[in-house]
Symmetry: C2
Subunit: 293 residues, 2 copies
């Protein structure tokens, strides 16, 4: 399988959907749309929409079943990056090799562009007409819970609180489970919900997502040490410099690599229960833990 080609095909479909959902405007909303679009189309990997799509496919659904949710989830992911980069937060000037949103548009517009992307996510999924409205309501609830205080934002707060102090491996895992894991889990579970998956299928997706999320995070931490600035689009070693706790700082690079392998194996095992339809989820896992950026 030409995995890069397969990924690019999917990214193209996802980008086209995002483009339709957040088009370039020439009216009075041009400025805020420009700022939202700047970060939304800054070269993200579209991992979360892709996972949602594949999870939906593994349970018998199609891209059309999840398209609004996939766009919404990518917008929520993007808003969190914009706000994370702000001077009062991580104070980052570069993201994916480009000036961060507040460097490009100023802090006030960056704050509002983040707010607007979060809001737009819920606008999109609530204004759609669904064949199964009760599935949609459930999926909206999963998305909202995963991105708020009980999920991503909760993790961001714990992450802030843990900076510049040593934390335990359990704490680190817990923070990541919320900060990055919650949206990855939401991607997979919403994919299942919108396909009408049964309890055991949702459960398999849940275990898959949990393990994939951790493996993905470990790889992120490893790349911050072993990657190249050119490939990553941001300075190498920035985690260490900002006093961040990472899998590498806690375990060392070799043990971190071993852990990543274990979690990715767990992930692949979990989805094998879903049968042939889940094949690409397995391939995707391999790809993600071998990525260079």
């Amino acid at each position: 399988m030409d995995i890069r080609g397969e990924l690019e095909l999917r990214i193209k479909t996802i980008d086209e959907a995002l483009e339709k959902r957040l088009p370039k405007l020439e009216n009075e909303r041009a400025e805020i749309y420009d700022a939202m679009r700047y970060s939304l189309f800054a070269g993200g990997k579209r991992l979360r929409p892709m996972l949602m799509w594949e999870a939906c496919g593994a349970c018998g659904g199609s891209w059309e079943d999840v398209e609004p949710f996939a766009c919404a989830l990518e917008m929520i992911h993007t808003y969190s990056l914009i706000h994370d980069d702000l001077p009062a937060m991580d104070n980052d000037d570069l993201r994916r090799g480009l000036p961060t949103n507040h460097i490009k548009f100023g802090e006030a517009i960056a704050i509002l562009a983040g707010d607007a992307l979060l809001n737009k996510a819920f606008e999109i999924i609530s204004s759609e007409r669904y064949e199964y409205p009760e599935r949609a309501l459930k999926a909206i609830a999963v998305l909202a819970e995963s991105s708020g205080t009980e999920g991503m934002i909760g993790g961001q707060v714990l992450d802030l609180e843990s900076e510049n102090r040593q934390i335990s491996p359990e704490e680190l895992k817990h923070i990541h489970r919320l900060k990055t894991g919650a949206l990855i889990r939401a991607a997979c579970i919403i994919g299942g919900i919108m396909a009408g998956a049964d309890k055991s299928e949702i459960n398999a997706l849940d275990i898959y997502a949990e393990n994939l999320g951790i493996a993905f995070q470990i790889q992120d931490d490893i790349l911050d040490v072993t990657g190249s600035e050119e490939e990553l689009g941001k300075p190498i070693g920035s985690d260490k410099e900002s006093g961040k706790n990472t899998y590498v700082s806690l375990y060392g690079i070799e043990k971190a690599k071993q852990l990543m392998k274990e979690y990715s194996e767990n992930a692949k095992e979990a989805v094998s229960a879903l049968g042939d339809g889940a094949g690409f989820l397995t391939v995707l896992t391999e790809y993600l833990v071998n990525r260079r950026k």
Copy 2:
């Protein structure tokens, strides 16, 4: 009618609902909940939840029909104030006589508390079990549209862009229609939707809200000039100092008062079509345009 007594009764019910929806926590989420609660319980007038409740009542519904939406709307209103007060935005240190959220909790937590309140709003309304799910989905869509780029955030952006330049009366009206009017309109229309109102009832609520929103904003602008710092809990004349366009700066105080009266009369006339059930909406209008804070 003892209007103050009536208002206090309603505020008590609304506050109790908000307290249940966002309780004080003692776990790892204590800090972000504290920051969210600090601004949510900082003595707001609960105008929007009250309008939603009364609009629902005017169309035959009850408090229970709108309770989740009323809480959600107040949370969205509160998040917008937290982000508006940030140094990069209006840079306000005081709000309702208290230190603003970022002064109290620091900028990073204030940004996240705002994000979390917006997110919590959608969490609440999407995880509720409804007797009429299709009404709920419609109401979620109205709320999302009113608070995002096509509503409140759109108004905030135009407001930012218009600072320190002279704008026309039409522009001012348009900015306020979005920035403050959109949520007031959402309050009334969602009240109608959740009561199962028909098209003509929704239309009456729409016209009511449109006019009330403008009257309310004019009164806000008048109070910034004629109010007392003690009553308002913020410095007098701050609009002028920050180069804001207001109804008073554009029309002068006498003409502004006259306009306020006209819009409030229009509002009252619009709801008179709803009959006796809308009586309190009329009383509320009177009260709002005669308020001192």
